[in-house]
Amino acid sequence: MRELFTRVFAIFWKDLLSELRTKEVATSVLVFALLVVVIFNFAFESGEDTIGLVAPGILWVAFTFAGVLGLNHTFATEKENSSLEGLMLCPVERYVIYLGKLAGSFTFMLVVAAIITPIFLVLFNLPLCLPRLALIIVLATVGFTSVGTLFSALSAHTKAREIMLPILFLPVVVPVLIAAVKATGVVLDGGAWSDMSTWLQILVAFDIIFLVVSVLVFEFVIEE
């Protein structure tokens, strides 16, 4: 177990160091997410009655497309440097590579969410302290990145990977996005825990399903 953690962390740390030095993905993803939130803020004036209805969708549109942008790079950088072969030559089971990459994507998405969410709440004149929203973001990010990392590996083998990833990935992750939007709507409306419990259960269920299935099938996706 310790060996597994060491190797997963080694992949995570390697990706983090590369990203901290290049800032290739972080900059573009953050600017994109910020643009989405700002543009929608102009489209829907804060204080309007419709805000409660559209705000959850705006937040998750920003996260989803920014996430796709980030996920596109998860395996693409490995392919570009041919380092994916080096990684696959390591004496580890293929799912270790998946877990390392997933840890990176998950952390990256959470950092983006941690920066974008307060800006979104301020722009739309919503309360800043929403611990339940944080829980929804964490749960949805698990499902989103677990299946996204898998599809990122799949699309890395294709020539038009930047188009292929959203086409393949978004239909699969729809249940997570719907549950996240609905649960966020309950939180922003000031609803009770019981109002969002069904959506949280759906999120947890899809997190488990996506994670387990992705671990099991990753080997077949990454192999030639």
């Binding site: 160091l17 440097n81 041919s82």
Partner: protein, 245 residues
């Protein structure tokens, strides 16, 4: 092996009817190989002969369409992780991360191989490839020749008994080639089993114990070095591959 004999097979690498196709296009067709422990096999062949495909199959990077590969008597498809821990692969791609330093790259691979005393081992191999002064430089800032030497350090970090070299001198200038040959000779001498693909007939023959020529995915020539007349080898190669000089 005699019945009841539990001693390991003398063959470091064996392939039986090894085949690989991409769709309907065969890249390798029924390759039978036996490489003794400590021997150096050089694989020659023109572009598209199947040399890289062979290395990919031996290194578990690609799955065969037919046949099998045994490493120390064990089928690599049944024991892929164990097999990979015995292999060091050097290709014309370095498998290195350009934005990480030399030491960060080696530390990463060392952790992936679960090496103990990693820092000492990194110092050891980086001294052997004569790049100690560049240990903390980013790989992307090194010359192609230096990057290839780091790639060798990466490949031998876990002290593998078998090395697979896929045209390791591709893209190097003459000075870098000389440097790299010295480094490679250091690491491939002794007990290590080596399979190397190359276009350089003289160099490949010089290093080999056994020679194999591939053409269109088929072994068209296989001989031990003692039986080969070095002067006549270019002619043999031309004849086998249908080339005219």
């Amino acid at each position: 092996m005699a019945e009841g004999d539990l001693s390991p097979t003398p063959w470091a690498i064996e392939t039986h009817g090894l085949a690989k196709s991409f769709g309907n296009i065969p890249a390798l067709a029924g390759i039978d190989l036996k490489v003794k422990r400590g021997d150096h096999l050089t694989v020659f062949g023109p572009n598209g002969a199947g040399k890289t495909t062979l290395i990919k199959l031996l290194s578990t990077l690609s799955k065969p369409s037919g046949g099998s590969v045994l490493l120390d008597g064990l089928d690599i498809r049944k024991t892929p992780e164990q097999s990979r821990s015995k292999l060091g692969v050097v290709s014309h791609s370095t498998f290195l991360y350009p934005h990480l330093t030399v030491s960060e790259n080696l530390r990463f691979y060392g952790k992936m191989y679960g090496l103990a005393n990693l820092e000492r081992r990194i110092e050891e191999v980086i001294s052997q490839v004569q790049l100690k002064a560049r240990l903390h430089d980013r790989v992307g800032t090194l010359s192609r020749g230096m990057q290839q030497r780091v790639a060798i350090a990466r490949a031998v970090l876990h002290d593998p008994p078998v090395m697979l070299l896929d045209e390791p001198e591709t893209g190097l200038d003459p000075h870098a080639t000389v440097m790299m040959r010295a480094v490679l000779e250091h690491f491939t001498s002794g007990e290590r089993t080596v399979v190397m693909t190359t276009h350089n007939l003289a160099r490949g023959l010089e290093l080999a114990d056994q020679v194999l020529i591939l053409h269109e995915g088929v072994v068209v020539y296989q001989e031990v070095k003692q039986e080969i007349d070095a002067a006549a080898f270019p002619e043999i190669y031309d004849r086998c591959t249908g080339m005219r000089r």
